[in-house]
């Protein structure tokens, strides 16, 4: 009986589902922002008219690579290669940091090189910062989740939990990857 109690109290599946619903909420948040952009840029003289800095292209590449490394880490975890799992988790983590840095650098380019300021009479341009900024906050949260998963690999936790943590991290991280690609493509399509 005690065992059944333990089992039906863990609910790892239900918790993973929590993550999926959370991703829905987050998706709605970005959908709201981009529909806000569409409504706003429909106004007269509200076009974006900014060529996106190249840095965004590099950051996109970094983020895609980080998704691949995380996938490799997941695979390693499933095949019980824990050293490899940990190694690729760290690589993913540092690629995440790199993404963060490049995004901030892109803001620097936008502000100081291109004169596209955050406080802007044309709020379409402010939206570039809002999109990338709120996305970066998500990335920050994901980096914390990633760190926690890495911590788990040092603590010798049961494989069930290890896989569970890997899956939670993966769902979140790949989602952030996809949402950034969506935002970037959205900005590219609207840049003229």
């Amino acid at each position: 009986m005690a065992r059944t109690h333990q089992e039906d109290r863990q609910n790892l599946g239900a918790k993973k589902f929590n993550m999926w619903i959370f991703i829905f909420t987050s998706f709605m948040f970005f959908a709201a922002l981009s529909s806000g952009f569409i409504v706003y840029s429909g106004g007269k003289g509200h076009g974006l008219d900014v060529i996106m800095p190249r840095a965004f292209m590099y950051s996109t590449a970094v983020l895609i690579i980080s998704s691949i490394t995380l996938f490799i880490a997941s695979k390693a975890a499933r095949q019980l290669q824990f050293a490899k799992q940990r190694q690729f988790l760290w690589i993913t983590f540092f690629l995440g940091i790199a993404f963060f840095v490049i995004q901030v650098y892109a803001w620097y380019v936008l502000t100081y090189k291109m004169g596209v300021y955050f406080v802007n009479p044309n709020a379409s341009r402010t939206f570039i910062y809002v999109f990338s900024g709120t996305h970066l906050l998500h990335v920050l949260a994901a980096l914390l989740v990633l760190l926690n998963t890495i911590k788990g690999t040092y603590r010798n936790i049961p494989q069930v939990r290890n896989l569970y943590k890997m899956e939670m991290t993966s769902i979140f991280w790949h989602f952030l990857d996809i949402i950034w690609i969506y935002l970037y493509v959205f900005l590219l399509l609207n840049q003229y």
């Binding site: 009986m1 059944t4 109690h5 039906d8 109290r9 863990q10 609910n11 599946g13 239900a14 918790k15 589902f17 929590n18 993550m19 619903i21 959370f22 829905f24 909420t25 987050s26 709605m28 948040f29 959908a31 709201a32 922002l33 529909s35 806000g36 409504v39 706003y40 106004g43 003289g45 509200h46 955050f118 406080v119 802007n120 009479p121 044309n122 709020a123 402010t126 809002v130 709120t134 906050l137 998500h138 920050l140 949260a141 994901a142 914390l144 989740v145 926690n148 939990r161 939670m168 979140f172």
Partner: protein, 628 residues
């Protein structure tokens, strides 16, 4: 956004929480409890306290409306600079209206209602030990409490609470210097709402996940009580619409504090031209009402679910049209996302678009009417027990009808030009979502009080509470329709000073006294509530002879809800007064094999083996009869 960080922490930490949660300490049992039943009580008590605060605020501004030029020295003693010379200041009047609306809509009828009953009923009625993630569930309550504290703390800042109305439209709310209520009070309002949304999302995510993943054996979706359907769809609404509010608020915060121009354009403030160019306040209205309209269904759907359950139990009849009830809820959920434009008919919207929103709005009347007729049909020839909970559930139906009818007028783009922003709107939503939802909530409190506190609330005080509140609410809100038709605008500090509206002063006085009466009626409730928690009559396990699963759990609260295995479910929750049954209720846990005499062919729709068995039994039985 802060939601995200928080949620992840939840995921991160609760794993550790698991290993230790068997050591019960004072702190983790009575304060930072992760038990859904206790969190439900925390939500309920906080919600009730917030409701009393918001009700007091409403009585304060009603006094101003009834006696616009009388001085009440007591008010100055109590409120100080907000009521100089014993009269409410105009700024403070606006704050009162704003905070009353905010607290009632979000803190009482969203968190207090969904938070209480989703937490209490979802695990107990679907047969789960707790929520999907008890830790995130606990965080949901604490974020709610923080939001409450921040919201109330705005009464203690220099310039007073936010006063732009609960919809906080920019440009007024985006310019801290525009009026005193747009200063620090508005900042606190926005911070509080971000915490509130974080709380709602954490709660909602858990509710959806628990309903979909953790139902006990046999509990398929079509065996769920309507409370669960309603709370489940409410949670889905919240999960999809609250993030949009956050997006709108984030942009508003940027406009207020960082000088961006999302919502601002061509502003002249105190004779000074402001640097904002190009923004569109209508954008905020779109983002706000994309949440705002689903929000009114977030408020009413749990009340509908609770009423359905209470009415079926106390009519001793199956709910009429169970499937129609569920499909109506689903219809309302879907439609609620495409009607937000009816709040914006007079913003200069393209009349064609207005027409589209009008049609979608009027279509919502269909599922709403289906539900109403089903409630009435459930009552029809029922063996009705008028418990206080039942009275409140019937009251909910009454308010939903009388308030819903005026919605048809307001949803009409042409009529709305005349009625927009008048007391007609105030009357409409206070009946249809204010009073109806609070009655649903009170029905739930009276009905599930034994489950929460192991005691029963006093019936006679319940009747007193019901009749005074029911009559009072109609006396308060019904006359407002006529004021609105006469063109009296909402949110005016002293409209009876205008020559054309002077005659409404007597009606205002009448409404105020009716409001004071219904306010006093709540004392009967709060006394009953507190008294019954400690000294009420002890309950038996299933005091209402109800079918649902929560009444099979032991009276004593235990972590995990059931000793041993979670019961299995065999039938839908509405087998009341089934012909041939020994008693007038058959709990969901009773298998069909134990109730051969009352089984019907349609009980075995998806179960051919069972049907065959049933037919055999029937023929055998018939043969026996003939022998006799």
């Amino acid at each position: 956004m802060s939601t995200l960080a928080v949620h992840d922490h939840g995921v991160v930490h609760h794993e550790e929480g698991h290993e230790h949660h068997h050591k019960a300490t004072f702190l983790n049992t009575y304060v930072f409890s992760q038990d859904h039943k206790y969190i439900a009580k925390q939500f309920l008590v906080t919600g009730i306290i917030m409701a009393f605060i918001a009700m007091t605020l409403s009585i304060l501004f009603r006094i101003q409306l009834a006696y616009p030029d009388k001085s009440f020295p007591l008010l100055e003693t109590l409120l100080g600079r907000f009521a100089p010379g014993g009269r409410l200041s105009a700024d403070f009047y606006m704050s009162l209206v704003t905070i009353h609306g905010t607290i009632m809509v979000f803190f009482v009828l969203t968190a207090g209602l969904s938070g209480t009953f989703a937490n209490l009923l979802i695990p107990l009625q679907v047969g789960a030990r707790d929520m999907a993630s008890p830790f995130v569930n606990m965080l949901s309550y604490w974020f709610f409490l923080i939001a409450c504290v921040i919201m109330l703390s705005s009464f203690f800042v220099q310039k007073g609470p936010a006063s732009g109305g609960w919809t906080i439209y920019p440009p007024l709310s985006a310019l801290p210097k525009a009026m005193s209520g747009s200063a620090e009070g508005m900042t606190l309002w926005l911070i509080s709402m971000v915490c509130f949304v974080a709380s709602s999302l954490m709660g909602g995510i858990n509710y959806v996940s628990t309903v979909l993943n953790m139902r006990t054996k046999g509990m398929d979706l079509w065996k769920m009580p309507l409370t669960i359907w309603a709370l489940f769809l409410t949670a889905i609404l919240g999960v999809l619409s609250f993030p949009v509010l956050v997006a709108g608020i984030v942009l508003l915060i940027f406009d207020r504090s960082f000088g961006t121009s999302f919502y601002l354009s061509d502003i002249v403030l105190n004779g000074q031209v402001q640097p904002y160019v190009g923004g569109s306040p209508i954008l905020f209205e779109h983002l706000f009402w994309f949440l705002g309209h689903p929000e009114v269904y977030i408020v009413i759907m749990p009340a509908m679910g609770i009423s359905s359950e209470v009415i079926a139990v106390n009519s001793r009849k199956p709910i009429f049209g169970y499937h129609a009830m569920v499909y109506s809820l689903i219809g309302i959920t879907l439609l609620s996302f495409i009607v937000w434009g009816h709040h914006m008919f007079v913003t200069g919207m393209n009349p064609f678009l207005g027409g589209v929103f009008m049609i979608t709005t009027l279509i919502i009347a269909v599922p709403s009417a289906v539900k109403t007729f089903n409630w009435l049909a459930t009552l029809w020839r029922g063996n009705i027990r008028f418990t206080p909970a039942m009275l409140f559930a019937i009251g909910m139906v009454s308010f939903f009808i009388s308030g819903g009818l005026t919605g048809i007028f307001l949803g009409n783009a042409a009529l709305d030009i005349n009625l927009h922003d008048t007391y007609f709107v105030v009357a409409h939503f206070h009946l249809v979502m204010g009073s109806a939802a609070i009655f649903g909530m009170l029905a739930g409190v009276y009905h599930w009080f034994p489950k929460m506190y192991r005691r029963v609330m006093d019936e006679r005080l319940g009747y007193l509470h019901f009749w005074l509140t029911f009559i009072g609410a109609y006396l308060v809100f019904f006359p407002m329709h006529f004021m609105g038709l006469d063109g009296v605008p909402r949110r005016y500090y002293a409209f009876t000073e205008f020559e054309s509206m002077k005659r409404w002063l007597t009606v205002n006085t009448f409404i105020t006294w009716a409001a004071i009466m219904s306010g006093l009626a709540q004392v009967a409730f709060i006394f009953n509530f507190v008294y019954s928690i400690f000294w009420g009559k002890k309950t038996i396990q299933n005091p209402w002879n109800a079918n649902t699963l929560e009444w099979t759990a032991p009276i004593e609260h235990i972590h995990g809800n059931w000793h041993g295995e979670i019961p299995t479910v065999y039938r839908w929750p509405y087998d009341y007064s089934k012909p041939g049954a020994d008693e007038d209720f058959i709990p969901q846990t009773v298998p069909f094999s134990q109730t051969m005499a009352s089984n019907l062919p349609h009980d075995f729709e998806d179960n051919p083996a069972g049907l065959e068995h049933h037919t055999q039994w029937e023929t055998a039985n018939k043969a026996n009869e003939q022998v006799k």
